[in-house]
């Protein structure tokens, strides 16, 4: 679609990280707040299943959820906010839930960041205050081993889990598997909700597509290895014979959502899964 000129700007897909989005968002309640980052499509879809609004937004259409003004990485709807400045939304997630807590006693907020964003000081300033003030926030770190072109070995010293722990924040890790992520998220959100304390969940994941439009300098064998760990494959296997039917149904659903979205021909037959 870039080649056809129907998309401009940039895009960060969540291909390979779908389970992070679905697993974390599923146990949330409607009133919970989500702040997200540049890689926000999965988080948004897991929350609202609004393919039409998202695709229209990415295409810069008036019918997009932010009228085409925000575009791929600046999304807003109800309790969902994303921004393209790394780490910048984390303190806002604290502030939002502090404000909401005055209105209702059980809401929490969730802040998604990537491993690379652990380079930003504001993340630690926020963790410190979250612990100090007992802010009910779940920090979700999607560790996909890369920040843009930079491998984690050139970006990060020490352990990820020790960071929140050093602020007295409960931390747990899980793998790139939907069941595992969901189970971890369910128990950690319950902890945050009931204890009114921050927690941090680290998901060891991997992105299977390029960082943004097409810039991928990663090792081919490594990529191949992780393709074998695609969480979608595991979901398929667990669904057994239902998987094919479900996939067809999903593709039809997506096709219906985006049919004629920009007034041009529909997208039938395109790979939209």
């Amino acid at each position: 679609m870039y080649a056809e000129g129907r998309l401009t700007g940039t895009i960060h897909t969540c291909i390979g990280q779908e389970a992070c989005a679905v697993g974390v968002v599923t146990p949330l309640l409607d009133d919970d707040i989500i702040v997200s980052n540049h890689r926000c499509h999965g988080h948004y879809l897991a929350r609202y299943m609004d393919i039409k609004g998202l695709v229209a937004e990415i295409m810069g259409l008036d019918s997009g959820i932010c009228g085409g003004i925000g575009g791929s990485q600046h999304l807003y709807r109800e309790n969902f906010y994303s921004n393209g400045i790394q780490g910048g939304m984390v303190p806002a997630a604290l502030g939002m839930v502090l404000a909401e807590s005055k209105k209702r006693k059980d809401s929490i907020s969730v802040a998604f960041i990537g491993d690379g964003t652990l380079g930003q000081g504001i993340v630690y300033e926020s963790m410190n205050i979250a612990s100090l003030w007992s802010v009910p926030i779940l920090f979700v770190i999607e560790n996909n081993l890369y920040a843009q072109s930079t491998p984690i070995s050139l970006n990060l010293a020490g352990s990820i889990a020790d960071r929140p722990k050093s602020f007295g924040i409960e931390a747990r890790s899980c793998g790139n598997d939907l069941e595992d992520i969901y189970a971890t998220a369910a128990s950690m959100t319950e902890y945050v909700r009931n204890e009114r304390k921050p927690a941090c969940m680290i998901i060891n994941t991997y992105r299977l597509a390029a960082h943004s439009k097409g810039d991928d300098t990663r090792d081919f064998d490594e990529l191949k290895h992780w393709k074998g760990n695609d969480p979608m494959l595991a979901v398929r296997t667990s669904l057994g014979p239902l998987a094919d039917d479900l996939e067809i149904e999903c593709r039809h659903f997506v096709d219906r959502e985006i049919e004629g979205i920009d007034g041009s021909q529909g997208n039938h037959g395109r790979n939209s899964g």
Partner: protein
Amino acid sequence: MLGEDILDPYGGAFKVTKGMSSRWPERVLTTPISEAAFTGIAAGMALRGARPVIEIMFGDFITLAFDQIANHITKFSMMYNGGVECPVVIRAPMGGGRGYGPTHSQSLEKHFIGIPGLNVAPISRFHDLDSFYSHFILKESRPTLIIENKKMYGQEYIGTVTEHRIFNVDLKGGPIPSVLLTPVSTGKADVCLISYSGGGDIAIDAAEELLMEHEIHTSVLILGSLSPLPLTVLEEAITDVSQVVVVEEGSRVSGIGAEIAAALMEQCFHKLRAPIQRITSGDGIIPCAADKEARFLPGPKSVIDQVLRMPGVS
């Protein structure tokens, strides 16, 4: 050289550093996503005699380094009564037109021109790359913010020429010259468009159309420095013209145009025949959608319309 994702084979988000880390592996440091920290690290290096250059991946992210620039890098020399120098060079790609949206398309240089002790230098396609960069990296004693317009990365480099399209090209002032384009046909102009970096292209397109379609002789001054402003060059460029328009991609209020207008009024009020006009982006944020972005950012048409609206022209 410090910055994010600047190592080969990637070579930086806009490929500006491509090849450098292969050639000088110990001198090219890729950093975590820590703009404040690596800007401060460069400050420390510069204080101890090194000549660091940092790349802010998108100029928008320079806000994260603002404290290091405003309260540290530009303070040291004067605060320590001239005892030290801190010649950090900060490269920042600014500007829109590529659909990157509100947080990846801005022109934030106006927030830096008022910081005492900081050079703000916009590179254009007409500047000699080598002498431009080597001046700030090797010769300057003050810190410098270099503005690179993102669109330029995909454009043809022109360099120092004596003619371009329908214009004579002259370099004015120094050490980093500004570039003055005057219509070849007359050698003088009735309207002067003042701009810098990527805005220069807008001004040149407008000036060409103003001459070809409306017979309005228009010159273009592409500034080599926004801070300090080259006042003598500016005065010379506006001498004998009846209209002056400043063209910039950033937002209007407290912008580069406002500063140039104020400076020219102080410098040579008697030479101005009409109020200086400003062409800027709209009042708001830069949309992602291509059509909305194009309407929001200034283009040749907005310049031409402004010139045609002016009394006494055409």
